[in-house]
């Protein structure tokens, strides 16, 4: 079976070798022997480079080297084969090995990366509660129930010594090495194969591996309500910087209730440390919002000033009350003040444009329509893929507000309609007066400014940030690009991403099944190398057919087109010159006064 392959392999190898010779020959003619040696060196360099790239630590490189020495006899042919496979992959499939990263936003964490981290984490966490750790890895219940699993594990576990090229096995290897390193880690090979591309990329950087390792070490410290919240955040079940902040504060109240100060330390010292583990996990779900950051900073400050001699019970009681008070003061009361101040701009017969969805704006407009009985029109501008404005438009409509719903592409027509005010919500306002808000806000503000329509921002001072930033590219949050791959006009981000994962998981499972079937049949060395070559080649076809026929869209399988990318950012920056007024609980101020409030706020907190 392997013989015809070997024969065919000879040719490309030679051809390939001849290409560098041609170029080299011009300068100097090299003897065959020299050439061979050169090639060997090249190969060795490549291998080692690959190893370090894939995040294999020094120790297991050594162990692998040992394993290699044992297999040295069958080296020649095997290496040729592998080399050819490598080349194949380099030329055609290399791209699939890496997560698509846009050139513009390469510095930002993609949702896939986040999801991969989260998955590996949760698999570890949930696994530790159910099954026991083995040296090679372990199984979550769902996988143990599958008859194939033992084989899978065997193959991936065994592959650590035999295969270099197959991406899945490489992964498994690195995972296995981690489990070997420290008994506390637990990884599920089947699980990690769900997002092999993502995980691979993830493990390519030593940094992320170590960060995961750290998280895993501390996994027992994580409070269940934090894990729940992390998932809700990651799946955009809780959105909006204020709701996210409130949810976090509530979770922290639970955490504090359940917290027990360990022996030999004090609450004021240890709780902060404990909380930072929770926050680390939270961060993995979605980057923290500015409100959350500010709240956390305040909370840590509060903890640190607690008298160490105070009994735990009382201290926890005080903290919980303080958190509740903080939420009330900074959000509830602040909103009330903002609504009061903002109401003066909602006039009878006026037309108001808003963008996306903002809690305080919805309250403001409803307050004016219901309690103050003003008659005005609201134009809710919305955008793909989140369609948050629909929620706001519905809420307003239910309270009898005259609402016009439009998309951001109709901006020109909207501003031809005698608009009086533009009201915007905020994710955050930066120290240099820039408004950091849902992507699209800046364009709306710009259009309004150019038509001399005043732009008002309603924003709690909790959203003020010390940060400065000049453009929207440098720091932003990436959402799932798959949300944009469909043409549907309903909000499908949730089901879509989950469906995507699920279908990919199913694909991976069937592949594993196939793989193990193959392994069961033939014995010998050719099997793993063949299966390894089949894995990457079948991967594209699997992604091609992931989403099934019910919404087949043009961009399905966009990942396979090398030069195609989808960028789905969540925020943009609105320059202060577009903003007339910021309405906060401290009153109305120009964007230039944000740092003033920040100083004040700091002294208050």
């Amino acid at each position: 079976m392997s013989e015809p392959q070997a024969v065919t392999k000879q040719n490309p190898e030679e051809q390939d070798g001849s290409a560098p010779i041609d170029s080299a020959a011009e300068a100097k003619k090299l003897s065959n022997k020299e050439l061979k040696e050169l090639k060997k060196k090249e190969k060795a360099a490549k291998r080692s480079a690959k190893k370090t790239e894939s995040g294999v630590t020094v120790e297991d490189q050594q162990t692998m080297a040992q394993a290699k020495r044992e297999r040295k006899q069958q080296q020649r042919e095997q290496q040729l084969k592998q080399r050819k496979e490598q080349q194949q992959k380099n030329s055609t499939k290399q791209t699939k090995k890496y997560i698509k990263k846009s050139t513009l936003f390469g510095h930002l964490e993609t949702t896939e990366e986040r999801r991969a981290t989260l998955l590996s984490l949760t698999s570890a966490i949930s696994a530790s509660q159910v099954s026991r750790i083995t040296a090679a890895g372990l199984m979550v219940p769902t996988i143990t129930s599958e008859p194939v699993t033992p084989a899978t594990i065997a193959s991936s576990g065994g592959s650590a010594s035999s295969e270099n090229s197959a991406p899945t096995s490489e992964l498994a290897k690195s995972l296995a090495s981690m489990t070997l390193d420290s008994e506390e880690f637990s990884f599920v090979p089947g699980m990690t194969s769900i997002t092999p591309h993502a995980n691979e990329q993830l493990f390519a950087s030593q940094q992320s591996v170590s960060s995961i390792r750290e998280l895993l070490i501390n996994k027992d410290l994580v409070h269940p309500s934090i894990i729940l919240l992390t998932f809700q955040l990651a799946n955009y079940k809780i959105v909006g910087s204020i709701p996210r902040c409130i949810a976090m504060l509530e979770a922290f109240q639970n955490v504090i209730t359940d917290y027990q100060t360990p022996q030999g330390t004090t609450l004021s010292r240890n709780l902060t440390h404990y909380l930072s583990h929770q926050i680390d996990i939270l961060k993995k779900g979605r980057p923290l919002s500015v409100t959350m950051g500010n709240a956390i900073r305040w909370l840590k400050q509060e903890i640190s000033v607690i008298d160490p001699s105070m009994p735990d019970k009382k201290a926890k009681q005080i903290l919980r009350e303080k958190i509740a008070q903080f939420a009330r003061e900074k959000i509830e009361f602040a909103d009330r003040l903002i609504i009061e101040a903002g109401s003066q701009h909602v006039e009878n017969g006026s037309t108001i444009v808003t963008y996306g969805s903002s809690k305080v704006l919805t309250d403001l407009l409803i307050h004016n329509a219901v309690e103050l009985r003003k008659d005005f029109q609201v134009i809710v501008v919305d955008s793909r893929p989140l369609f948050e404005g629909r929620k706001m438009a519905d809420q307003l409509r239910r309270h009898g507000v005259n609402v016009l719903y439009a998309l951001i592409t109709s901006l020109d027509a909207i501003f031809n309609m005698n608009v009086d005010y533009v009201f915007l919500g905020a994710h955050s306002i930066l120290s240099n007066g820039f408004l950091y808000s849902r992507v699209g806000t800046a364009m709306l503000a710009m259009c309004a400014k150019r038509r001399n329509i005043p732009v008002l921002v309603c924003c709690e001072s909790l959203k003020f940030s010390q940060r400065v930033q000049l453009d929207s590219v440098t720091l932003n949050e990436l959402a799932d690009p798959n949300d944009l791959a469909t043409v549907r006009s309903d909000n499908c981000s949730l089901e879509h991403s989950q469906k995507d994962l699920l279908s990919q998981f199913i694909k991976e499972r069937t592949e594993h099944k196939k793989l193990s079937n193959q392994e069961n049949k033939p014995s010998g060395n050719s099997a793993p190398s063949r299966s390894s070559s089949s894995t990457p080649s079948s991967a594209p076809s699997s992604t091609n057919t992931t989403t099934d026929s019910n919404d087949k869209s043009i961009l399905d399988g966009w990942r396979d087109i090398h030069s195609l990318n989808i960028v789905n950012i969540l925020y943009d920056l609105t320059p202060p010159e577009y903003i007339k007024k910021i309405i906060t609980e401290f009153g109305s101020l120009p964007p230039s006064s944000v740092p003033v409030i920040l100083r004040e706020y700091k002294s208050l907190a």
Partner: protein
Amino acid sequence: MSLPSSAHSSIVTINSSDINVTIEHFIARLKRHQIDGPYAMALETLQLLKRFISQARWSHVSELIEKIRQLANRLEKAQPTAFACGNVIRRILAVVRDEEEEELRSNSPQAASSSVAEPMISSMFNLLQKPEDNQQKQQQQQKQQKQRSTKTRTDFRQVAIQGIKDLIDEITNIDDGIQQIAIDLIHDHEILLTPTPESKTVLKFLLKTRERSNRRFTVLVTEGFPNNTAKAHEFAKKLAQHNIETIVIPDSAVFALMTRVGKVIIGTKAVFINGGSITSTSGVSAVCECAHEFKTPVFAVAGLYKFSPLYPFDVEKFVEFGGSQKVLPQMDPEHRLDTLNSITDYVPPENIDIYITNVGGFAPSFIYRIAWDNYKQVDVQLEM
């Protein structure tokens, strides 16, 4: 003068009910937006006109002109935003009128001396022009009336049909002309943004640029949600398959990314004489405004047949709106929302830096001249 000709035409229409059916059918399709894009529209109009002219009968060329004008007026009334129809018919009218003038000049050597000089003189001299002009005109008209009885020497049918053939030729070869000019507008590793993914001219232009100049560039494609998203995806896919670095972005991300964009390319549906244009995707206006704000150059690609001799007095009349289905697929029946779904967009001239056409590149302020080179002022208003 129009009375007898219109009476005459009604006779003709009875005779050629066949062509009338075709026209009716065409108008019905126009009204239902069943003709995709100005390119197809222009070509189909020309084909229709060709049949119309070959079947029409007239005793004098002014009758022919009148008939063509009526046809154009009918089409324009049926679909005021189908600019391409009016444009191509007006251009054929201009061809016929030129020929008519030519013939008049050759017929009367006396008139020739004055009319040779006439085009040279600025219209500002109208004020001081000799009053004989009027008399001359009357004389000419008298002559024309005389000529009506006599057979005209020029075969205007031939002229018009040749004009149509030339125009069809021009329209089908437009992309080449544009590419040759525009190729040097893109430099290596530039990031381009196009908000009009439905434009085939833009697509071909980008592909050709990549092919010919071998410059690597990145194209950001906005989605044009909700009406053109599928086309945008198709567009992006095609570009990517031709090895052009392509990034699909939502319409809302334009401002965020504009700092990185080197040039904005737009396709157009119609270009007016003030240099403004209508695009077939909504949101382009805001994108161009954004580009203007960031001082990013915007260039529009347009075939000559998209130039319209109209002035956009009332922009709102030219911008089309669509139904709510695509904006808001599900609606609570008890709390219905008003929706707004603009299909096309008007880009004012100040937000466009240059037009690349098959006859050269022009600043928006010079578009009026290109238009007047191809149209006759008398044909701007088709209504009688």
